[in-house]
Symmetry: D3
Subunit: 312 residues, 6 copies
């Protein structure tokens, strides 16, 4: 076989010899490989209260990585050396959420046990996946601090519907995986939550920043302050980015969209600020339903969130 | 209060005094009411193998009933007297399919125990709802014959994912609710099923009609023959209409669409033929995902399926 | 000025020197011009019972004429000589339907008074435009026979909402413009009309053909028979094509779509059959709402209806 | 009847026992009921110059109320006690705008005569509905001051098309219902209006704020100043919110969208500022066409406008 | 590394152990491998006269293979042994059609020179790709007979725009790659072609079947007759399936859609008939633009065309 | 002929006698006519690396001119006297980019040679059209300074794909048409370019402003400074506006969208600032693909860009 023109294998887009697309720095994990960033899909969204196809987001975000490059003009830095290892998608059970949560937790742990990477990105799925994912990090590495970008508290009671995408932080607090004082919620929005859950967060010592707080203090400054506070106490910090923290005009592909949220620039700046410290070991991106999106805008934004996190 | 113009309450569309829309013959069930047709929504689709929002179909089909009228010009008959009692939607558990199946079965039984109607329509949801629904009819009324319009056998093994929308007839056969000889499958399509399941059906004595059989024998003639055969043996006949039996051009709103299926006219004619006999006591309509549909075409077709079934 | 490359004026698509697009045979009317087919837009749809943008159809159908050519391979005939004169769009009043009906009627009459063409095409708009349009033909040329392709009778009472798109044939009958015996309705569909209006039609001697009749007799044969019957009595025949006579799979862009209608081939064959006789002097095409259409399919079908009518 | 699982009636979404959705505070009006906020739909958009389905907005905005809750984290206040009485939708005539305007005015007056609420929300429809609506308030309560959020003056002449959505404030000024000095227009945009109408407003003493003024003074400060000015003179203030004042990126569902408008945050802040004073008795929200919207974004924004207005 | 749950690599959908999806029978070609069917993408559509993204079809058709299975119930045959070797996508030049044609031809030839398969499927792209593709087969294997399913002749002159998707069969005839008597065109549609090109085909002895011929003779019978005629004369037969031969209701994703074409069943039956003879060595499927499609219907139909061709 | 109602010719929307829509100031060019602004479409996008229908933008932007008026309330100025001459669309070759570039250049030159206007607007097409267009201005008028709004450098090598939409400024620099020091790039975005091309720009003395620079200095101030610098050196300044410089929320209709770009207000303000000096003789607007847009938002923004440029 001596092909001069043909090159069998999955289709590749147009290649410019001087340009590195982000997905070109990504390889499927194989034993013995190591890299800077570990990537894992958590394609589960049957825990969503409303009908969601967020399970398709890992695929659409991976695709979006192919639209952008490794080069930051602003930092005059090319990050072709920030290699990604893709561990694929964790398995999920078609009809059993508890079983799925177990599968997700075990999958994350298996990835961590390979000790192949220094940082990880988990791609949801709905926000329900953060419960098993953070639990896995906790079990592996100890006390976890969490920065949660979200319009919602996500500490609903579990009696009214089991572990849904409205309960992950309740589950984490109740199970002792995360302490209230180690949880920071940024971007909480008016008319999108319940008093009982605001009080629950207050009772547990959760640090809550509303959109008014963001307007008043500035999001980068909030993040900086909280990272400093947490790093004194915890073994690692986990960023949990629910994309519905962003205004519906900038992130139309989330199930629970609304007006009055962050701009995409506010999100990007704050993730970049948070990611500067090496104690930040993991980030998840959740609540993108590609079937509801406009031109994959929200997955594109997620790709930029990843670049801000990875390229430090 | 003496309103001359205003008339508080849910919005009503334009009313022509001589025209009766089908939804005008429908009332919410209240104790003591009786009517010809009982209607119940089974809005559950988390048992679907692929992401589905078929849980929204009961709403869209009810809406579609408002687009059509009670009058058949061809039969020169106005069916304003075929009153419908709407029992609302059965509850579903957000994260537990087994619990949901139990809730659905008990809800159908509660409806039947009211003894308010002579015939019933169940609106799915995905095809997974037929297992609890048919079980309820069986427990109430005895031996059930089933006519299943479907491109697929739906007798998958349950080891690979629990009770999904691919398993209802397997569950019904294994649990003894339905005997193989009492099940008729119409519209089975090439390249859409597995040999193992074709053999499973054959082994259990299921009567299977492929699209080639439909072409050769004619769908009305198949239905007529099978209704005759079943009515000798069973206590009631249940029609289970998976809308993906219809060609994708006519029913674009099903998750598992494809070419080479029934035309909408073939479906309507065969449902009308089947519904002529009073032994037919129930019908479900499943696998419509309104979020995937084009102009609610598939829900509109479902409304016509209901009219053919109700207006005898 | 001597342009070698540039050619100022409205954009033209790619031109193949041997191919004539239908819109290339069309000219804007100017005094003294004559042609075979007169074309007039009647862009009004505020008389629609449900919200409609059928007022945009004249533009989309004109555009669709540019997708097709003048050559019939089946008849081995090139119709480049069937010239069209486009009289533009009739004016409509933004908020007054009665005033609009008057404007439309007067506009049609002004066109006819030019005596520039032997046949006319009127592009609605909703079906309400047929009342003023047919009235104009009647006032100009005498007794009018009408073949109406429609899922609906369109003889609603006018007390419940004035002259809407549900009343044109009621208005025509009541005003004496058309006699009941001179009106033929083809494609009337079950569960889409009211008994009172079926009886109204019967009382006035309207010839009504349901979809069952179409199935039984064949649509071309019905049309042939009725043209023969009418031509003995009337001065001209007017074809009124409500595109919702076609099944929703083939004409998704009508406001009142539903299953169980004509295929596009049945429509085309029957229009061709009807158009063979020179007593047919006019045709309108109504009830296409381009904002609801899929890829302009319904406007494309309308263009083919025009070709079948024009190219005899 | 003793239902344990089933609960007949219109479908309800998932219910969390600690969360109150805004639409749960809403009841259909019945004689003798009183509440804080009266709600009335004015579903008419046939007065629109361009084709509009804004008549469907009352339904979509009501639906959007079910997406949000009564709790403001920023104000640490739960507004479950702000009860809404829904008077349904006012009737409209299918083909007669003058008749419709009369029906709308009389309907609003009938609602006001019930004296059941202290504040009202009117949901259009296109902006044409503000003429009858404001007239009703004037006839009931006296001198009306109006704050109009709008990219356009809406004082077109009525000779060129009757009372359209381009004329309501012309009609109000000419009929003496509103004095020029009592009208404030905020958000007027360049290249979206005519000089003649700018001059007309100036001549009548209308206070006009362009987007440049908004940039220079700040929208909250403009609103505060004008509320103070008006309250000295008028009996009540009416807020008229044409959603096209918002930039197309934030409110894509308006017929007349364009770039360079308010952000959604600017709109929300200014409505909140305006609503603080009890002299503000009414608000309408107009020019949302749900058929043109993206994921109901504009109706969602309208729901938030309502919350800012109601929850003081 | 001992993963129990995780399984790194590209995401796999839900797997039922007894079901074989068609794409599971497909492998990327590697030296030394052999299989029954060779697959090659020809993702080029810049030769299209109108703007087309048919270059994306190879990806969407491959995806559609994952929706269907290898089992034919009608033939009681499971085709898991019909292995496919995927040679990937041939390279195309971004801005030079002549260079691209050369790249495509050479790529097809390289594939053929591997002698790894007995039959081939080529996935366009627009119809322009058939010129280099058929040329490659001719150069490798000799005299080629072609069955072309198409609404259009595709023998335009090349002076007016170079080698476009309107010229492939002109190029093949003029270059002597295909003789006129060896070309069969099926499904030619009225008002979609030019007289000059009909005459060109007649002059060259091309066998042309219009839709009227299809109606009169039956498509399977036409295909059978022509395969018999050709196989006496040629070394191999190549099927060229332009999906716009199908009616727009069944194949909405083609650039040049229109009414009055084949049903999907007519296409499938005729391809199956044609593929029965081993002299048929190749098939291309062209003119699907996934960006214009509805729910990938046209790609799904293409997948079924492939199954009919492969599973003999 | 004496039409009182009818007025044959292309359809006109509703006309308010006091309002001038921008497209009413536009005429098709004819010999001897002169006007302030010359308009030319360059409808070519086959040079795009990814599939693009930007060739349709000249039509959609022209349409958008009909949505807006000539009056600036902020400047209290009506620009009805700024007449536009429309030279139509330049011809493009269906399959040959080099030939097209030649046709485009010659067409622009022919327009300039008419000497009919003082300023020009060129409507792409993809960014590839700027190479022939700027070359034409250079050949006619001498040294050209260019302000390029763009997320990308567009100085890719031409070996990897010929002259694409990624290469125009490379071509201009290499051919000596534009000197590096005369090129200003504004809005360059992180993770959207390659290091090699950033260095290429630096080496050639191109003035590059990233989004961080825009944030830091303010876009109007950057533009002002660079216009001052350039006007000392060049004979004319050409503005080249690639709409993907704008954030995806504000300009969703560009092929290469992403988050973190300009707001529409930033673009409008900066174009207005740039256009104040009469040395600015030309502007192109490129990279709008109407088939990917949402409600023509991006074409609407383009129309406002034109108004800011024209109405000084
Ligand atoms: Ca969340
Ligand atoms: Ca959230
Ligand atoms: Ca099924
Ligand atoms: Ca099925
Ligand atoms: Ca009608
Ligand atoms: Ca009709
Ligand atoms: Ca307004
Ligand atoms: Ca407005
Ligand atoms: Ca072709
Ligand atoms: Ca073709
Ligand atoms: Ca560019
Ligand atoms: Ca760019």
């Amino acid at each position: 076989m001596s092909f001069q023109y043909l090159n069998p294998g999955p289709a590749r887009a147009f290649k410019d010899r001087f340009t590195t697309k982000v997905d070109e720095t990504k390889q499927w994990y194989e034993e013995g490989k190591s890299g800077k960033i570990g990537l894992l899909g958590l394609p589960y969204s049957k825990s969503s209260i409303s009908a969601s196809q967020a399970s398709e987001a890992p695929q659409s975000i991976r695709r979006a990585l192919g639209f952008y490059t490794t080069y930051s003009h602003e930092k005059e830095q090319d990050y072709t050396d920030v290699t990604m290892l893709d561990f694929g998608d964790a398995p999920a059970h078609p009809t059993d959420t508890e079983k799925t949560n177990d599968l997700l937790k075990k999958s994350v742990k298996e990835m961590l046990e390979e000790e192949a990477c220094s940082r990880y990105v988990l791609l949801g799925g709905d926000h329900g996946v953060s419960f098993p994912s953070i639990t896995a990090f906790h079990e592996r590495w100890g006390r976890v601090g969490v920065l949660q970008w979200d319009a919602h508290h996500d500490v609903r009671n579990t009696e009214d519907g089991g572990r849904t995408n409205g309960t992950p932080f309740r589950s984490l607090l109740e199970s002792g995986v995360v302490r209230g004082e180690d949880l920071v919620q940024i971007g909480i929005r008016d008319y999108s939550n319940a008093q009982a859950y605001a009080e629950y967060c207050a009772r547990h010592g959760v640090a809550v920043y509303t959109m008014a707080d963001v307007d008043a203090e500035g999001i980068a400054s909030i993040v900086k302050k909280e990272i400093q506070r947490l790093k004194e106490k915890v073994d690692l910090i986990y960023l949990s980015v629910d994309m519905d923290v962003v205004d519906q005009a900038y992130a139309p592909g989330c199930p629970a969209i609304g007006p009055g949220g962050l701009t995409s620039r506010e999100l990007l700046v704050s993730v970049q600020e948070a990611s500067g410290d090496p104690i930040v070991k993991a980030m998840d991106i959740v609540e993108i339903d590609p079937s509801k999106d406009v031109r994959d805008m929200t997955s594109r934004l997620a790709a930029h969130v990843m670049m801000r996190y990875m390229y430090q």
